[in-house]
């Protein structure tokens, strides 16, 4: 199903057209990927694996794996990266594809070689920020990105950003930051942008092979290279881990927030870091039920404000729990979880199974830094920025991109380019993980005041910068400090609500006794759309962690262009609990009930290498036989030989070694080889069109 309204994202579709899948006529809209168009029709099994006939579908939605292979007009393509076209004939990849017959070689020209002072791979927050800095110094820069628009993962982020308001657009939504940075990049006359252009390899002769606009292979020789390719999602080993419906949280956000399809009805999330928490919130914004979230640690690792947002909307969070299996035949039908002991082993007897159709894996990210490592090995002048350098928030990526841009300008001998010291410091601060949690301070007194439900040290300061009276303070030297409301003589809270609107964590309310000393008007921020709640409704007030505080009346719903899609809901709340209210729950959410008996998936069908369908059992047996060279495991099992080139199974295999008690110093890693992504021979041959008959 497609999303037809969304509280944050504009939905603006052009005229629809038809394509076919497996002979069935389906509609699609311009700009949709094949994957999105299929999901829009509830199709999530795209084919069957040649090795074992297992159903295949979306996994990364990011062009990294190859699980979404389909045959489009006779050619095998990745459904997540290929735009659907009117009249396109799409067929499932059932077994090995047949290579289309071609009788005459296509016209081939010499592969173009171009020189450029600076090449930036990756048009996300880091790459765009670097390109802007390079453009500002007039350095000729080429920015290549494999997607159809700039922004990287920013385009998936409907929430307001944390970070510093002065430095990195904190308080602005990710999608809007993407638009702004895009505009700034395009305003630089010396910056050229190639979209839909995948970097395929960094070669030892200091040349980068780029598939320009998906249809022409170009060799780019930069004087300096910046790798800003972001990150890739870690995979996880559990039974049923490759069933269609199990995919990365980033993949889910792509389908929902970029492609605007309702990719799931009932969702279960594995991992309580920021990625999993935010994906859960995005699901709720898209009207998708979140059945639950498991986190193996005793606490979620993400920002507490993100966790609380989910909890307030009624999502059960199971800490010290893990996933045992995703269950189903052609796709996910349920998930089985269990409690874990202090050594993260499942505790027998604690298994619970919940019906759901989708399992999101959000167990962390790894830098996509292979181009940088190659460039470094080959002695190229190269820099790395953003998540490719170190996994952190997008705000940190913006900063590290800026710094890298200036460093490149310096490396190219541009005079007068300096990197302010405070940039370096800000970059460090923005990368910090959540720090200390403090006890909530006693509630303020007065007739009108904000309550800051933000008790954890995170790098974020928009609240402090919007208060017209200057009453919200965060140590200006270190924005990780907790905010404090400090009413000082003469200056009183005006009740302007700006802090309520701007807080990315939705963690500030305004308590107002000016009309009624016994019943406060509490203003809470709300991001599920103005139509979801109306004046006069009775809703459940909840505290910061989602505990019920009782029914309250909605006395007003305010939307304003100034508030940028954040709805302000006014509640009439008894004095006793007025400062405890942090949000609302619209209806008593049915607590998702576990099935009476947990489902046990049979067989050792945890898949280590999803491209070649190699099971954990096969590989574990080899490790126990003494295999320590991942390349030997690859030679014998084919794990790592598939389309993704070990990008997915490599981290899993390393983890399996650790699980087996083998220190990684004894293990030889896969030898990394080009290409980063498969591309047709004709393009390397200098043909522009692949000449099918």
């Amino acid at each position: 199903m497609r999303l037809n309204h969304h509280p944050i994202l504009p939905i603006d579709r052009e005229e629809r057209f038809r394509f076919t899948f497996n002979g069935q006529k389906l509609d699609a809209y311009p700009g949709e990927t094949i994957a999105a168009a299929l999901f829009a029709h509830g199709i999530r099994t795209f084919g069957y694996h040649p090795r074992d006939g297992s159903p295949q579908g979306i996994y990364c939605a990011n062009g990294q794996c190859a699980q979404c292979l389909v045959i489009a007009d006779g050619k095998p393509v990745k459904a997540c990266m290929t735009l659907v076209r009117p009249g396109m004939r799409v067929d499932p990849a059932d077994g090995l594809p047949e290579l289309p017959r071609v009788s005459v070689p296509p016209p081939m020209k010499e592969v173009e070689r171009i020189r450029v002072p600076a090449l930036v791979i990756g048009g996300g927050p880091a790459g765009m920020s670097a390109a802007i800095e390079l453009g500002a110094t007039g350095i000729r820069t080429l920015l290549v990105d494999d997607k159809h628009r700039l922004g990287g993962k920013l385009v998936l982020q409907t929430h307001r950003f944390f970070g510093s308001r002065d430095a990195v657009y904190a308080g602005t939504r990710g999608i809007d930051i993407a638009t702004r940075l895009d505009r700034e990049v395009r305003a630089q006359p010396s910056v050229e942008v190639w979209l839909n252009s995948t970097a395929l390899a960094v070669y030892s002769d200091h040349v980068v092979g780029v598939l320009r606009a998906g249809r022409e292979y170009v060799l780019v020789a930069p004087e300096v290279l910046l790798v800003a390719c972001g990150a890739r999602e870690r995979s996880l080993l559990f039974k049923g881990n490759t069933l269609p419906g199990v995919y990365g949280a980033g993949a889910f956000q792509t389908l929902v927030n970029r492609d605007l399809v309702r990719a799931a009805d009932r969702l279960f999330i594995v991992g309580g870091g920021n990625v999993g928490l935010i994906a859960g919130y995005h699901a709720l914004q898209a009207g998708i039920e979140v059945v639950g979230l498991v986190e193996a640690l005793p606490e979620c690792g993400g920002y507490k404000v993100h966790r609380d947002k989910l909890a307030r909307l009624g999502v059960p969070i199971y800490t010290s729990h893990t996933i045992l299996s995703a269950n189903g035949h052609d796709g996910v039908e349920s998930v089985t979880i269990a409690q874990v002991d202090e050594r993260f082993r499942p505790v027998p007897g604690t298994e619970k199974t919940f019906p759901c159709d989708t399992v999101l894996v959000a167990v962390g990210l790894d830098p996509a830094d292979e181009f940088y490592r190659k460039a470094h090995e080959f002695g190229m002048r190269a820099f790395v920025a953003g998540d490719a350098q170190e996994i952190a928030e997008a705000s940190a990526a913006i900063f590290s991109g800026r710094i890298a841009g200036r460093r490149i300008a310096q490396a190219l001998g541009q005079p007068g380019v300096e990197i302010p010291l405070e940039w370096e410091r800000m970059a460090e601060i923005l990368k910090s993980k959540p720090g200390q949690r403090g006890a909530p301070p006693p509630p303020p007194v007065g007739d009108v005041f904000p309550v800051l439900h933000c008790h954890e040290e995170i790098p974020c300061n928009p609240c402090a910068s919007v208060c017209p009276q200057g009453l919200i303070r965060i140590d200006p030297e270190d924005i990780r400090r907790r905010p404090q409301y400090v009413p000082t003589g003469g200056n009183a809270c005006l009740g302007c609500e700006r802090c309520v609107v701007v807080c990315p964590g939705l963690a500030i309310t305004l308590v107002d006794f000016r009309r009624d000393q016994q019943n406060a008007t509490v203003t809470v921020p709300f991001e599920l759309g103005a139509e979801a709640v109306r004046e006069g409704d009775r809703v459940t007030a909840v505290d910061v962690a989602g505990e019920d505080l009782g029914p309250v009346a909605v006395t007003g719903v305010r939307t304003s262009p100034r508030n940028d899609r954040t709805v302000l809901v006014k509640l009439l709340v008894p004095r006793r609990v007025a400062t405890c209210v942090a949000g609302i729950r619209l209806r008593a959410r049915p607590q998702p009930a576990a099935l009476p008996r947990p489902v046990e998936r049979l067989g050792d069908d945890e898949i280590l290498c999803r491209c070649e369908r190699v099971t954990v059992g096969e590989v574990r047996a080899l490790i126990r036989r003494g295999f320590r060279d991942m390349n030997e495991i690859k030679a014998v099992t084919r794990a790592g030989m598939g389309a993704c080139g070990g990008k997915t199974c490599g981290p899993l295999l390393r983890r399996l070694f650790r699980e087996e008690g083998i220190p990684l110093e004894e293990v030889t890693d896969y030898v990394p080889r080009p290409l980063f992504m498969e591309a047709p021979l004709a393009l390397f041959a200098g043909a522009e069109e692949t000449g099918d008959e």
């Binding site: 290579l99 296509p106 030892s204 320590r628 390349n631 498969e678 047709p680 099918d692």
Partner: protein, 385 residues
């Protein structure tokens, strides 16, 4: 293990050393294989694309490769391990009178050795390889008895079988010295240990020269690098290995075949050669090989390349291996300079080495060893390396 003595120590667990270990162990000898890399076949073996042909023009190579084919073709039946042997043959294509002449000249020698290879005109050749570009095609040779296997699986199968027969392998060990006493091999020293043995076989592939230097010998083996690649898998459409020996700027020939797994593996021979041990990927390879492949077989245009790599060909002055005992040092044997044909010569050669070391050579072996003698006069290169 260090206190134990071995009958033979093999330096190099690759395409040659591994099958040699199997056949020596099978002959009842106590064998140790040392390799500086972390596991079996991690040098040049894994860079090979797996073509196996007996249709050479050098009688020694023909003999060895014929035996290799017999060993590989019967491996699964004998040992139960699938090494992806496929008997798809080799096709050498001729688009100009030059190749037609070269290939037809070779047929004379090849027929003299009873090889199953014939000249096919364009029409007949297109029945074997229907997707060849028919434009300008004169014809070519077809040798249906040749084939291909997975070098990775084959090498690992020899390794498993060798260990089953009692051979020992030690990885991550760099040989640092070969100890002699009165002109005879006494022991092999590594960075880890010292192993007593009366016999050492240098099977160190591209690094054979450095091993020879340990005993003061200078083997004329110089590696150069070739580049290879593999595509995505597609349904089976190509039986034989296709070889195109037309010279073109940057390359002297290239060849490709479809693996049992459905992928096309391809390789190009750079001209002039890229001498040295550098195995880092270069930007020139794909455009060069892709152009030639798409021109020869337009159907490959839409096939997506998955991975590329470089591998080393340990070259000798005349393009043939150097095999035999050293005259200067008793107990030092060479099985080096495979010139990129270690996978197709190794198994046959392994058997011969076992007979050489156990003193059970047959008359045909003497002929092979005569041809491949490290002390031969190096004449011109073999026409089809």
């Amino acid at each position: 293990m260090g206190d134990g003595a071995y009958d033979v120590v093999i330096i190099g667990a690759g395409s040659v050393g591994t099958p040699a270990a199997l056949f020596l162990a099978q002959a009842g000898l106590d064998v140790l294989v040392l390799d500086r890399l972390p596991s079996v076949g991690q040098g040049s073996n894994k860079a090979a694309i797996g073509g196996i042909r007996a249709t050479h023009s050098d009688p020694a190579k023909i003999r060895l490769a014929q035996r290799t084919i017999e060993i590989l073709a019967s491996w699964e039946e004998t040992h139960g391990q699938d090494i992806e042997w496929r008997s798809g043959g080799y096709v050498f294509v001729a688009y100009t009178p030059r190749e037609e002449r070269i290939l037809k000249d070779l047929l004379v020698v090849q027929h003299a050795y009873g090889l199953g290879i014939e000249w096919l005109d364009a029409k007949a050749l297109l029945e074997i390889v229907p997707d060849l570009n028919p434009r300008g095609l004169i014809g070519g040779t077809y040798s249906p008895g040749d084939g291909h296997c997975s070098p990775l699986l084959a090498c690992h199968a020899f390794y498993d079988e060798a260990r089953r027969k009692g051979a020992s392998f030690r990885f991550g060990e760099q040989v640092t010295g070969i100890e002699l006493r009165e002109g005879r091999v006494r022991a092999v020293r590594s960075n880890e240990d010292c192993y007593e043995t009366p016999v050492v076989i240098n099977a160190a592939g591209p690094w054979a020269r450095a091993v020879g230097n340990l005993v003061g010998l200078d083997h004329p083996v110089q590696p150069d690098s070739h580049e290879a690649g593999v595509t995505e898998p597609v349904t089976h459409f190509l039986d034989p290995m296709v070889v195109d020996i037309r010279p073109a700027p940057g390359s002297s020939n290239y060849y490709f075949h479809q693996l049992a797994s459905g992928q096309i593996a391809f390789c190009i021979t750079p001209q002039p050669p890229i001498v040295g041990e550098d195995c880092r990927e270069t930007s020139g390879f794909l455009p060069m090989v892709a152009r030639r492949m798409v021109d020869l077989m337009p159907r490959l245009a839409n096939l997506r390349v998955r991975r590329t790599w470089r591998g080393l060909y340990p070259m000798t002055p005349d393009g043939s291996p150097l095999v035999g005992w050293a005259q200067e040092i008793e107990g030092y044997a060479m099985a080096i300079g495979m010139c990129g044909q270690g996978v197709m010569l190794g198994p046959g050669l392994g058997e011969l080495l076992a007979r050489m070391i156990t003193g059970t050579l047959v008359p045909e072996d003497q002929e092979v060893l005569g041809i491949l003698s490290p002390y031969r006069e190096f004449a011109a290169q073999e026409a089809l390396r």
